[in-house]
Symmetry: C2
Subunit: 334 residues, 2 copies
Amino acid sequence: MSNPVVAELLRGGLVESRHSGAVAVSDPEGRLVLALGDVERPVYPRSAVKAFQALPLLESGAADKLGLTDAEIALAVSSHGGEPRHVETAASMLARAGRDVGTLECGIHPPSYRKAAEALVRAGEKPSALHNNCSGKHAGFICLACAEARDPQGYIQASHPVMREIMGAVNEMSGATLSGDGVGIDGCSIPTQAAPLAGVARGFARFGTGAHLGPERAKAAARIRKAAAADPFLVAGSKRFDTDIMALFGERVFVKTGAEGVFCASFPELGYGVALKCDDGGTRASELMMAGVIAKLLPLSEHEAEALKPFVAPVQRNWNGMEVGRLRLAGGLA
Amino acid sequence: MSNPVVAELLRGGLVESRHSGAVAVSDPEGRLVLALGDVERPVYPRSAVKAFQALPLLESGAADKLGLTDAEIALAVSSHGGEPRHVETAASMLARAGRDVGTLECGIHPPSYRKAAEALVRAGEKPSALHNNCSGKHAGFICLACAEARDPQGYIQASHPVMREIMGAVNEMSGATLSGDGVGIDGCSIPTQAAPLAGVARGFARFGTGAHLGPERAKAAARIRKAAAADPFLVAGSKRFDTDIMALFGERVFVKTGAEGVFCASFPELGYGVALKCDDGGTRASELMMAGVIAKLLPLSEHEAEALKPFVAPVQRNWNGMEVGRLRLAGGLA
């Protein structure tokens, strides 16, 4: 039950806080290249598998039918900061489906990027469902429904034909089963299906290489990876790990965060997929863990190694800008 | 090294995330009533010992000399949300010392209470050091310096006479020593001294009862407890655990949160002090742990038991208001 400590916060010479977690790195056949902690226990992959959830949109032909751009594809797999380009791109996706913000069923929250939230307040505007960090994914679901001439209403329910199609694709990719016990509801109201990290990692190895996927799915995966690499801002936003890492590595790394400390990645050149979770759900630890996996496995140029440093050993500063703490990798990731 | 799991997040029938931690409950003699995990390992108590840091302000006579009100005493031990009453009260403390916001050395950040931050943006104003969640504590330090006719400049340094006085009081209360290894810098730039949870808990047992304290210190502790109970909004603010719990229990519970998952409390009627830390620094877990300790040890009326429920089994809702998860106590706190 107990996973190893993988990250520590140092302050004044002592370890102040500790994060434990599990990491699976797999090849497309499911052979584990790296396994730390319990990688067979089912975890909810949350938003880290948005790329799997977007596969039906592409492989069904819906994206081409509606003329979705690469930018819109990138937003369909995003957890974005609610910045103006995110909001505009989500609105444009809905327009291609002949819909608008009223069709979104993800709920409303202020932009998660603080400056975008402040700008909205300053303009005297209220946040809409377009600002929800999942609006791009939901717009993609609505595009899929409309391209297939299905009524999108209720698309967030597990029983809706569109959601069944999406959950089926996720299951095929992650090796999850549709048992009642392992299906939770995500922050944006759609189902999230528990799967072992080992299975999710294998899915991302296939996603990154096309191996063991049918030709349409392999093509869909490649387009998603290219779209994210071409415009990583749309996948997350300002001051975000996913955006910064994909801007650094381009098509060499596809990476996606999820709530409760989940992180997934594909390293196409190595043929590896990654799935990890920090036990306590902490984002600071899951980001550090992913940076550690990249540093451990990916061949790095001097420039890349230098650029990765702030992610592998993040410094904590206080409100006067003084360095007061430092996160470091521990155990099998150190 | 490994502390037990004390809190779990449930989603869709599975445990999604886990928090481990340690809890010490002590009487004034240092006898442990409850000990979970390693309670002898030094931890930084951070803002959870602001009440100890405020003792010199009262026992030196500085508070009376400057005519500090009970509201100002409450703010001196607060980690507040930067709401208007917090800001006004901090400004009033500084005015009593013949100073203003310019003397604060805590740094600047936007109000931590979101609505207060939004109101500031809406008014086109920038946050000042008065909005820093530690401004009341720092104003108290400045009051102490000025009442003793000392130049407050540099009061955040461990070498400043006022900070030496404060650190001495904290050490006496918590059993910490001033070794270089166990002194970190807090978010507000002052030193934070590591101490075992068992020692901090014993200190809060004494703080809650006056036992083993000199008469001036016992009087100071009692005034702080009464001031916090009389106006718990000033100790934290809107939608905050500390404020809600002290509003519920009045003088029966003094409770104070600290960064990185620390929480401390006094239960004067039982003669117990509490110090706990969630290993990963998570606030949701440390609040749940404190609610669990209260539920386990304090005699509760029906009304109190009912009012405590949302803290002992907090529900997570998504952006559509649906219940998607639930935190629960685990192991020795369940």
